[in-house]
């Protein structure tokens, strides 16, 4: 393999992984936009998505679309339960309490995943049986195209939802001022519930599409969550397009550094970028004029 082919290979890997970070970042943004809570269990949704899909396809032998639909439903229900049982009942919700609750839930999810699936990584068959093909002498797995395609669809659907539906607009209003929204007759509790449902669903989708490429095991959540958070911070917390661009950039940086600098420090690179952004420009680099850090 020559140098260009290698570069193309790294770039493609980077974009594929980056798409997953973007999806995780979007999950953070949705909940943050409505509740101003950073959900530390976001990475766990991705893990559960992958592992529940393993159960649906490898254990129950369901077809891909049915398994996909059922998996997203299961994880979505878990997200809704998380809000109903742990977030909603808290009355004097300060930031510290909410952080700790989402951390506790993430530990419980991780423990349950270990109880059910054990500590081994699981694989999933690729979505299509097409053989890998080459582009500029680099080898492309068709699954990478699935990841990119599905990410694009999710992003488009989300922007349509927030821009053109009453519910999406109501959710954004809750973000600006929960008090004013309540006075205007927006059911804030319901909007919070929907935000958890949406980000659980997005997390599940991310887990389902990436597992055929990178396998999935019970304790991936923390690192995936952190890198996704890196994407949402780099893109400007709360900004959807920012998270997508930033996720792709993070994936690219990580893949290029792993290829040319040090593979051992691959996981550290995205985190170093996260810390640098927090220190240099915590409002992010790719946020539009409207999306700005509110209460931070």
């Amino acid at each position: 393999m020559n140098d260009t082919a290698q570069l193309v290979q790294y770039i493609l890997t980077g974009i594929t992984v980056g798409a997953i970070y973007a999806l995780v970042g979007l999950g953070y943004n949705i909940i943050y936009n409505v509740t101003e809570v950073i959900n530390f269990a976001q990475g766990e949704f991705v893990v559960l998505g992958g592992l529940v899909m393993v159960f649906m396809t490898n254990t129950l032998h369901l077809s891909l679309p049915v398994g996909f639909f059922l998996t997203v439903s299961v994880v979505t229900i878990l997200g809704a339960l998380m809000d109903k049982l742990t977030i909603e009942p808290i009355k004097d919700a300060n930031v510290l309490t909410l952080i700790i609750i989402t951390i506790a839930v993430s530990i419980i999810f991780r423990g349950l995943a270990m109880l059910i699936w054990g500590r081994d990584p699981y694989a999933l068959p690729a979505f299509s049986k097409a053989p890998p093909f080459t582009l500029f002498h680099a080898i492309i797995q068709p699954q990478a195209l699935w990841v990119l395609g599905i990410t694009t669809i999710v992003v488009i659907l989300l922007s349509l939802f927030f821009r053109f539906t009453m519910m999406g607009k109501a959710m954004l209003a809750c973000a600006d001022s929960p008090e004013a929204s309540r006075l205007m007759g927006i059911p804030v509790k319901k909007m919070v519930l929907i935000s958890f449902v949406l980000s659980a669903a997005i997390g599940a989708v991310a887990g389902i599409v990436i597992t055929p490429i990178s396998l999935m095991e019970y304790d991936r959540g923390a690192l995936l969550g952190l890198k996704g958070f890196g994407a949402s911070i780099l893109g400007g917390l709360g900004s959807f397009s920012g998270a997508v661009i930033a996720g792709l950039i993070l994936g690219l940086i990580e893949s290029l550094c792993a290829g040319y600098v040090s593979s051992g420090y691959k996981d550290a690179i995205a985190l170093i970028v996260l810390l640098l952004v927090l220190f240099v420009k915590p409002s992010g680099f790719f946020a539009g004029k409207r999306a700005s850090l509110k209460k931070f």
């Binding site: 609750i101 506790a104 952190l226």
Partner: protein, 318 residues
């Protein structure tokens, strides 16, 4: 301070009686060792409870500071053959420098930033411990770390180490209590009560919060050095994210409104982890998660708030 004196007296008498009890009751013969670990972790959580209870901030990377102290001590004594006291000092120096670098930018911002920054920092440190094989021995770690000694006296027996660790914890506790009851402590309470009001009254809030963060990192680093010279073996697994979360949990279970809560929670959870939950093996994670969730939701003041709640229930029913 009078009330604090009584508590300190209770703690000290418990610490004196404990080894005697352990000596005479065979069923708990290994409890002295567990108590040494509890003491080491208490140092971490006393610092952490100052950060959580007074600055209203949370650190998800304190296991990394513990690790920095531990590896500084281990590397300096086992690899360079220098005095363990140099190791402890190096750990403190490195930890506090890192705490300043991580703390300054994140503490200026509010909310979740310190939590995320420390979480990311903790993961980076954990990766460094695993990757710098020449220095840290990588995932398998390294052994042959000498015992702590003063002159020719070696802290090698369980009882001497127990006394050493808890003496250091008591010193840390005195220092923390003195700080709380000083001008600095009043400023911390003002910040916790209402940060904006404190700022308006002329309290430089981010500088005060940074001071707590650095102090808590020093506590953790000293704890790490003590840990190293007790087990005389190091690998990265004791310094991962889950340990950071466990420290936070110890503070919350005990109650973050006072340093006493940290001590109670730490002793309780250390026994839970080292002894009582061993039947669960790896699934203790699940138990921890459930405990953390239930305490946060239903007993947000932790164990130390129980007497007050019971008292108010009794007066209400009367």
């Amino acid at each position: 301070m009078g009330c604090e004196k009584k508590k300190i007296l209770t703690l000290v008498s418990f610490l004196v009686i404990f080894p005697v009890l352990v000596n005479y009751i065979p069923a708990i013969s290994n409890y002295l060792e567990v108590m040494i670990f509890a003491g080491i972790f208490c140092l971490v959580t006393i610092g952490l409870s100052l950060l959580m209870g007074y600055a209203g901030q949370i650190s998800l990377g304190h296991a990394a500071f513990l690790g920095i102290g531990a590896y500084s001590s281990g590397i300096i004594t086992a690899k360079f053959g220098l005095s363990p006291w140099i190791g402890i000092a190096a750990g403190i120096a490195i930890s506090s420098c890192i705490a300043v670098v991580v703390g300054i930018p994140s503490l200026k911002l509010k909310g979740h930033y310190l939590a995320m920054a420390t979480l990311g920092f903790g993961e980076i440190v954990f990766i460094v411990f695993n990757e710098e094989v020449n220095l840290t021995g990588g995932p398998s770690g390294f052994a042959d770390i000498p015992y702590l000694h003063v002159g020719s006296f070696e802290f090698s027996s369980e009882l001497t180490y127990y006394i050493l660790v808890w003496a250091v914890v008591l010193m840390g506790l005195f220092f923390a209590l003195n700080l709380i009851h000083s001008r600095v402590g009043r400023a911390w309470r003002a910040i916790h009560g209402n940060e904006m009001a404190a700022e308006a009254m002329g309290v430089p809030t981010s500088r005060y919060k940074l001071k707590i963060f650095v102090l808590s990192s020093i506590y953790a680093s000293v704890a790490g050095s003590l840990y190293t010279h007790y087990i005389c073996f190091l690998n990265p697994s004791s310094f991962d994210l889950f340990w950071s979360i466990k420290f936070v949990m110890m503070v919350i279970v005990g109650g973050m409104s006072s340093v006493w809560g940290a001590i109670i929670g730490t002793i309780l959870l250390t026994y839970l982890g080292n002894e009582w939950l061993s039947a669960f093996k790896h699934f203790d994670v699940l138990v921890y998660g459930i405990i953390l969730l239930l305490i946060t939701m239903f007993l947000p003041g932790g164990i130390v708030s129980l007497p007050r709640i019971l008292r108010s229930k009794r007066t209400n029913s009367r």
